[in-house]
Symmetry: C2
């Protein structure tokens, strides 16, 4: 008796729509299997062999699939040509613009990270247009590298540390951005760097959302298909968060779900960039961690590396700072876990290397406070995100997912 | 670029499955419209008039629909017989077992609350089997009333103040229940009271979940179809919570989502029945509200009425107690809102009559702490639940939803 109101069936589809849907179905099946024969695909999707062959032909012609060698199907012993998704041609471009770095990533149809370009820079206080122009320059450079690998990004997705909706950053407190039309500005900057080329469609999302999707698609959550519901928390200069429930990102009514960094730790605590007081970010963000350990809070990645070194050496101030932060993380996360009951909580960003010192106190707090009694120490429900859980890759991979979901929409954009 | 991974299409359905699905489609269409002609249904669902007539005939014969009078369709001016869902015959039985009362409700196919029986009793510390037997007696009595109205409940749903999964209460701290197989115990007790009758299938869920569904189906959230994503918080002896996202209940990975009452207010606060310290329940539950206002914390519904009277009279201790509780509610809710970004927060149970004194402080706290800046005072996003938002009705209505979702599964149970 747990089903909700069943939805109405979709309206009847015409032949062209059905074929378009089936093209995606076949492409996604090959993608998910890694390698498949026509017969294997037909068996998997429930279409006739002839129908699948026709769809595969189109996908081969349009460059979504490649054939290679002969394989033996396990069932009949009859050789068939193996199909794989193309490793050249259409690709996705992901651009993460964060407080102190920009990362650009090109991902191929198989989901592989083929080009990655990271530039450290301090974007705080810089004019949004200037930052986006610089990011476009880095993206254009990454596209040149991609071209050398015969990869052609067909759309770009931006990842930003703030509230993003409707093509704009509503608010990115740590960048100091308010109501910035990032999609348009970036598209314009990129177009001006690539005259006479087809303009790339650009979209944008919150960086923690995209890192969480990368974690879902490529990380531990992906292996074995075990974890489909998790809270993703990333420690950067801010603390970003995202919720993945049943394999889907929870966006919320306005697109602003997942702001765990602004859950309250101490109502009268230090003022936060968001305007409120005592937010988690003020206790577990990068600057707070460094400060609490007696390091320069503006020392960035180098400071985090130093903090890790000191903790590893057992330096009391470092260990105590991380233990305290872990306790507060656990306290806030216990509320989030009681609220949404996920399978796991994954910590990324600077939390990842610091897990050995953050996790014990956080785990203890979660064990004490998760009301179901299903949180036990060492259960593995609190874990470091995998290295794949990064926003730039998630952004590029989302473009790829869009291609896989409707290859026909991208077939015409094939020539550039 | 916001779509997630599209799912595979459902496997091909045979004729019988398609008819079964279409029976539900037609029944739900009449249900949702309130009244409809065969032609109107055909136009709405995209089936031929002949197909709809055949389906309608079966639904009439099996007692799911009734015909009445003539109506004029708006479009053609041609008279047609109006169809409505049957107001007699199949019905749902809902049984809310709470700390200090049991409510039984019978809801007809149209969703109307046709029988309601409430008995006040103190269930704390009583043996679960005894409480469930007593609830079964009340249910049997309500079924006698239903029979007089020619209504025949075909399944029962229990609502319980605790963590419910797999047919059992895992933990209901305020009842003092642990691992109680409520579905089996209740079914057995009800069967023994109704020998020679077909046993009713019994299922169970958390009471806040079911109250939230009642709110979604019958409350303000339903009118105009505006609010489909909300946090539901109900003040009882405990503080229960539920999350409705996009018109669906969020259950969580283990079925335990929505436990807002155990989000932390004060890490070193008073011990909670759940075993942790400083949970919201210890500050905003019924006992805490009464105690803070200088009333007997065990005075129950009478005490809440007295608290309301005193607040209405401007009695300072009462007003201050509610203001404080409102602030803490707002603080915890701001975290929940930052996390899941709902359209609204609805307060039910004892919070409902106390809203005039709880809401201002809660709203101010939400305004200050919701990071999107989209929470503004008096926006109407914080609201009292409608009177329909009760768990017993939600439970009975869920049975009705199950019938509407697959009438063929219930057609045979028609005779009792």
């Amino acid at each position: 008796m747990n089903s909700n109101d069943p939805s109405l069936p979709p309206p009847k589809a015409d032949k062209a729509t059905v074929r378009r849907h089936n093209l995606s179905l076949v492409l996604r099946t090959v993608h998910d299997e890694g390698e498949a024969t026509r017969a294997g695909v037909a068996g998997r999707v429930g279409l006739t062999r002839a129908a699948v062959s026709s769809l595969v032909d189109q996908l081969l012609t349009e460059g979504f699939l490649t054939e290679w060698g002969k394989t033996f199907s396990g069932q009949a012993g009859r050789p068939g040509t193996a199909l794989k998704v193309a490793r050249t041609g259409l690709a996705g471009l992901g651009v993460e613009i964060n407080i102190d770095y920009v990362t650009v990533c090109v991902v191929d149809l198989a989901g592989t990270d083929r080009v990655r370009l990271v530039e450290r820079m301090d974007n705080r206080g810089a004019a949004p247009a200037a930052v986006l122009s610089q990011a476009a320059r880095i993206a254009a450079r990454a596209m040149e590298s991609a071209a050398e690998q015969e990869l052609r990004p067909v759309a770009a997705e931006l990842a930003l540390p703030g509230l993003v909706s409707g093509g704009a950053v509503r608010q990115a407190p740590n960048l100091g951005w308010n109501r910035v039309a990032v999609e348009g500005l970036f598209a314009q900057a990129l177009s001006s760097l690539r005259p006479n080329r087809r303009a790339l469609p650009v979209s944008a999302d919150n960086e923690a959302n995209l890192a969480a999707m990368a974690e879902l698609w490529f990380g531990d959550a992906h292996d074995g298909g075990r974890v489909h519901s998790f809270i993703y928390l990333t420690g950067e200069i801010g603390v970003g968060g995202a919720l993945v429930l049943g394999g889907r990102l929870l966006r919320g009514a306005h697109g602003f779900a997942g702001e765990i960094g602004h859950m309250v730790v101490e109502p009268d605590g230090p003022e936060c960039r968001c305007g409120a007081r005592g937010c988690l970010e003020q206790y577990a963000g990068q600057a707070a961690l460094l400060r609490a350990a007696g390091l320069d809070e503006a020392s960035g990645a180098a400071g985090v590396a130093e903090l890790e070194t000191r903790a590893q050496a057992g330096e009391p101030a470092a260990v105590a700072a991380l233990d305290d932060a872990g306790r507060l993380l656990g306290r806030v996360l216990s509320g989030a876990v009681n609220l949404i009951d996920p399978d796991a909580v994954m910590l990324g960003g600077v939390f990842r290397p610091l897990m050995p010192w953050l996790a014990p106190a956080a785990d203890a707090e979660l064990t004490a406070r998760v009301v179901s009694g299903l949180w036990t120490p060492g259960s593995g429900r609190l874990r470091a995100s995998s290295s794949s859980g990064d926003a730039a890759r998630g952004a590029a991979a989302r473009v790829v997912r869009e291609i896989l979901a409707d290859p026909a929409a991208y077939a015409e954009r094939g020539t550039d």
